[in-house]
């Protein structure tokens, strides 16, 4: 076991403790503080802009009003957020898994890729609104499933596209190496293509995270839900129809907040998975 250790040349750090202190510290790090500072600045400018231009709140409410509304209506908005979140997550996970599988299928043979990639594009460029009735009819009256399918369609393509690109970008020498050692298709996939495609896949996830969310919102527009089990889209629409624009902005704020949270999580995941080797995440010392 001695061979796995580098202790004598490693500067001693109390590892487990250090790690946790670091993690907590992260919340006070520039990564978090910088966007917050900019956020405050933006809010300030927004507030001043609204005040100075005298734009009426039914067009663009000031941030304070929006936040007040958010706090006041938290009781109805938050459950709606949870439902949207549920749809988003389900669709996102489905898109991640299926996108990865499809990309893997595509890279099994140039023929499959050439033959089916255009159909992935068709899926991407078909307006949900046009096919929503078909989906609803097809799924009978399982509205949740219909919503998830719509959001999934929206989120799928970037994952397929980026992952396929990644799976096709493997280092030539390494692919030779695997060929040499007679790696099976499956082994090449598992030990070479997938790790090499990881940065691209994660990049695709970061794009799709937001799309799954926006897909969930759009899906609710086109598949029509309401009532107790309705998500943020319903809140946005109703607030808009009822000219409760501050409330609409509060709901929008929640949507985008959720989007940013998803993005931040995916970025953290990406950094974690790539920190040991990929240039985009490694901290280089020279």
């Amino acid at each position: 076991m001695d061979a796995e250790q580098k202790t004598w040349e490693t500067e001693n750090l109390p590892k487990p403790l250090g790690v946790w202190v670091k993690r907590l510290d992260k919340l006070r790090s520039p990564d978090v503080l910088a966007p917050l500072a900019v956020g405050l600045l933006v809010l300030l400018i927004w507030d001043l802009g609204v005040r100075i231009s005298g734009i009426p709140p039914y067009l663009l409410p000031g941030p304070i009003l929006v936040l007040q509304t958010l706090v006041r209506d938290w009781g109805t908005l938050f459950p709606a957020l949870l439902i949207t979140l549920q749809i988003t997550l389900t669709a996102f996970i489905a898109a991640a898994v299926s996108g990865l599988l499809i990309a893997i299928l595509f890279t099994q043979s140039k023929w499959i890729e050439r033959s089916f990639f255009p159909y992935a594009v068709i899926l991407q460029t078909t307006p949900i609104v046009a096919i929503a009735p078909l989906i609803i009819i097809w799924l009978k009256n399982n509205t949740f499933a219909a919503l998830v399918v719509c959001a999934w369609i929206v989120a799928l393509f970037p994952i397929i596209s980026n992952t396929t690109l990644g799976l096709n970008s493997i280092d030539h020498n390494l692919s030779n190496l695997f060929q040499l050692y007679r790696a099976s298709r499956w082994q090449t996939l598992l030990y070479l293509r997938l790790p090499a495609a990881m940065p691209y896949f994660l990049g695709g996830l970061r794009i799709s995270g937001g799309l799954a969310l926006i897909g969930a919102v759009v899906a609710e527009f086109v598949a029509g839900t309401g009532g107790a089990r309705s998500g943020l889209a319903y809140q946005i629409l109703m607030a808009s129809y009822n000219l409760q624009i501050p409330r609409m902005f509060a709901a929008l704020l929640m949507t985008t907040g959720l989007g940013v949270a998803i993005f931040a999580l995916l970025t953290a995941l990406s950094d974690f998975l790539l920190k040991n080797w990929h240039e985009s995440a490694v901290k280089r010392e020279n």
Partner: protein, 322 residues
Amino acid sequence: NGNPTATNSSPSPNGSLDRVTYGTNWYAQAEHGGFYQAVATGIYRDHGLDVTIRMGGPQVNGTQLLMGGAVDFFMGYGSDALKAIQENIPKVTVAAIFQKDPQVLIAHPDVGVSSLEDLRGKPILVSAAANTTYWPFLQAEFGFTDDQKRPYNFNLGPFLADKGVAQQGYLSSEPYKIQKEAGFEPVVILLADQGYTPYSTTIETRQEVVANNPDLVQRFVDASIKGWYSYLDNPEPGNQLIKQDNPEMTDDVLANGLAKLKEYGIVLSGEAQSQGIGAMTDERWQSFFDIMAQAGVLPQNLDYRQAYTLQFVNKGVDYYKS
């Protein structure tokens, strides 16, 4: 799962109910009151029906849901019914709850607009759907032009921000919101009073349902109409259900909606006063068809009579009140 078209069932002797889904055209509101009332007060149940109301929404395509079997009855619209015939879609209107279409145009007060003629050449916010309904009528009858159109997304902001524009609206909805949120009373022009005369908030179903299961249709129509009488009388039970389906709905909006329905005789006017709610006549269908054909929306030779059947309505007020 209880698709009523499959079996020719009549009110079952053993008391089991026929499951039926009714699709509306929007989030629950006063304009849907009678249907909710019929659910709430058990009128449907008394007619052997277990009715689920499925709300529509801004981009929900109800006809497809109806024809695909996702709903059994659908809240339709006169011009829609005629277009279905043109496209050989076998759906049929079996009752018309609204004698008048609540479609209005709204303008700012004190800008000198009081009639449709005054709006000629002015920018108007209209929804995309208007292009297939009242807009061709306005073009044909009042000389409106396409470059007057501005997109309307059911958000009042753009209208309020610009005194120069007018916009479309729903009688019971936008005018009240404007009054409430912006504090002024807009000019409201009801298109039904200007010669635009489609039935609206109708009950549509597939032709095959009418053919195979007329009894079910009759029961649904009867119960719905009874629901409407009941709602006009005491809306409370229906309103409860509406608020349950659409939590954003408030009592004052519901009250206003009902008041407008009554004030303008949307539900109870014309033949409905004698034949009962839901009444339809051949003449009315024909005159509306003529208007649309004149506007170029429908071909002159369309067999518009297929769009509806009078079989289930016009029973007289007493029939429903008994």
